[in-house]
């Protein structure tokens, strides 16, 4: 799925440079080799770049641009009209509430799971790691269905819940549960490879020096994993706010009550209110863009720290 931070490019200075490639690329290549035997002729290179760019233009840039142009097709007044509806606001509110519950819970789980899996040896560790990843391979629709089977009127706890007048499915708790399920592995899977690579030496040193468990975590582990943590949280958040399939199964689509933003987009679209649908969709697209920007910044920052750590004289202990 997403490349874990620990795998992102270790500054490799060996990218072959074309003759006119003296742009602001980061590390100056030591050997600026134009058309060395291990690079392709220019015509091959530029045709490959063109094909890749055309593909990216068609499949990524055009759809993104279409969201905003469709939203503004009838001018900014029609665009703003979509947000005057109380249903739109309640959808936005529900989306924010859902993410505000799901992301912190998965954050706590992610840290706990990564700590347990990377700091200790125990039997069944590989199996546990696979189980943590499991929700990624379950179809969102199936993810919604399992909560209907648990808490729906005909489900395991259905009669009991009904007797006590508690609504989970077709209500907000169901939406939150389904969202937690689909975003379950995001933070854990960023942290596990990162903490695995860092080992336990620093924590053990802190222990020897008399730190308590919490002190060790807050002052030693947390600073080491902060970029991976932020990375996982923003990806988790983007998915939590944008989830459609799972939430659609458990929501019941009650306007103004159990509609999240993506579900609101669907309703508007199916009612042929295209401009309004794309207006709400454009907010979600903005969220996606912000997510990508933060993600890139985190990656660059992480790379910079890795390079700085690698540049330290070898006898000094490395921070990362």
């Amino acid at each position: 799925m997403n490349t874990p931070l620990s795998q992102t490019r270790p500054a490799s200075p060996s990218s072959p440079q074309g003759d006119n490639a003296s742009g602001p690329a980061k590390p100056v290549p030591r050997r600026s080799r134009a058309n060395t035997p291990t690079s392709e002729p220019d015509w091959v290179k530029w045709s490959l770049i063109s094909v890749a760019l055309v593909f990216i233009f068609l499949f990524l840039i055009l759809p993104l641009a279409a969201v905003f142009t469709e939203a503004l097709r009838k001018g900014s007044d029609a665009f703003l009209e979509a947000f005057k509806e109380p249903d739109a606001w309640s959808a936005i509110r529900l989306t924010l509430i859902t993410a505000a519950i799901a992301v912190p819970l998965n954050l706590v789980f992610g840290v706990a799971a990564a700590w347990a899996i990377t700091k200790y040896e125990f039997r069944g560790k590989a199996f546990l790691t696979t189980l943590v990843d499991l929700p990624f391979s379950v179809s969102p629709v199936v993810a919604g269905l399992i909560y209907v089977l648990m808490f729906g009127a005909q489900g395991w706890f259905g009669p009991w819940l009904q007797a006590h007048d508690i609504k989970i499915v077709f209500a907000v708790p169901g939406i939150v549960l389904a969202t937690i399920f689909v975003t379950f592995p995001f933070i854990a899977r960023e942290l596990i490879p990162l903490m695995q690579a860092q080992g336990t030496d620093e924590e053990q040193a802190a222990q020897v020096l008399g730190a308590t468990g919490w002190q060790t975590f807050w002052h030693v582990t947390l600073p080491n994993i902060k970029w991976g943590l932020i990375y996982g949280v923003i990806l988790c958040n983007a998915r939590a706010m944008g989830e459609f399939g799972a939430v659609s199964v458990v929501s019941g689509h009650i306007r103004g009550q159990t509609n999240t933003m993506p579900l609101h987009v669907e309703i508007l679209y199916n009612e042929y209110q295209s401009v309004a649908a794309f207006a709400v969709a454009s907010l979600l697209a903005l969220l996606a863009l912000v997510t990508l920007v933060i993600k890139s910044l985190v990656e660059w920052q992480f790379e910079r720290e890795m390079r700085a750590a690698a540049a330290l004289p070898p006898e000094r202990p490395l921070a990362l």
Partner: protein, 277 residues
Amino acid sequence: MPIASGARRAPKRVLPGFKLTLGFTLFYLSIIVLIPLSALVFKTFTLTWEQFVFAVSSPRVMAAYRLTFGASFVAAVVNAFFGLLIAWVLVRYTFPGKKLIDALVDLPFALPTAVAGISLTALLASNGWIGSLLEPHGIQLAFNRNGVVIALIFIGLPFVVRTVQPVLEDAEKELEEAATCLGATRWQTFRYVIFPTVAPALLTGFAMAFARAIGEYGSVIFIAGNMPMVSEITPLIIIGKLEQYDYAGATAVAVVLLVISFALLLVINALQAWQRK
């Protein structure tokens, strides 16, 4: 995940928090994932074998499997090809806007699927930017199977790029230089030196894109047209059965989908283990 080898195994449980973190992990995993998933399995057991077979093999459901697997496969093949190409271009070449393109590759991860769905539909419908160009030539990409494939290509692209990219970055230049010294053409070097290096990663990316495509719902339903027997995907069958309160039927189809997802997960895990070797 590589587990620390026996040679430098950390002394057992020096750090505090083992019971707390493992206990919480297992508790949370159980209530969110394992118990609900087992509900699915138990619900299936309320069906007789005949009922189960009937539910999962009616002609309409079979048509949906064929579409889901066929379209997912085609999309994953397209993604494998273009994903490798994009990863190659991003790793080996410099060109203006490269960092932007690199960041943009993750768009399908970040963009909600429903937004992708309505946006692709707007582009490819007969009055859209692309649809209006193709319509006069009799090419229809929306509201049929083509639309399904296109939505799945969008969804799966980052999987291939992001699995191949780090492998290409780590690939040793020296091997290529050696091949060139031994008289290989650039194509031969790619075919016999570079490609075998990235092949496991490429296959992993392919399997991930394929697995994701099989379960995908949000982006597809807007563009597919959803005609029974023609362009109705398997997840939509589940939704349809649920809307008719056929919980048992929905569960049966969901179990089939789930079993296939698990099988793919095992394949992906095996591929990743192979890749690390």
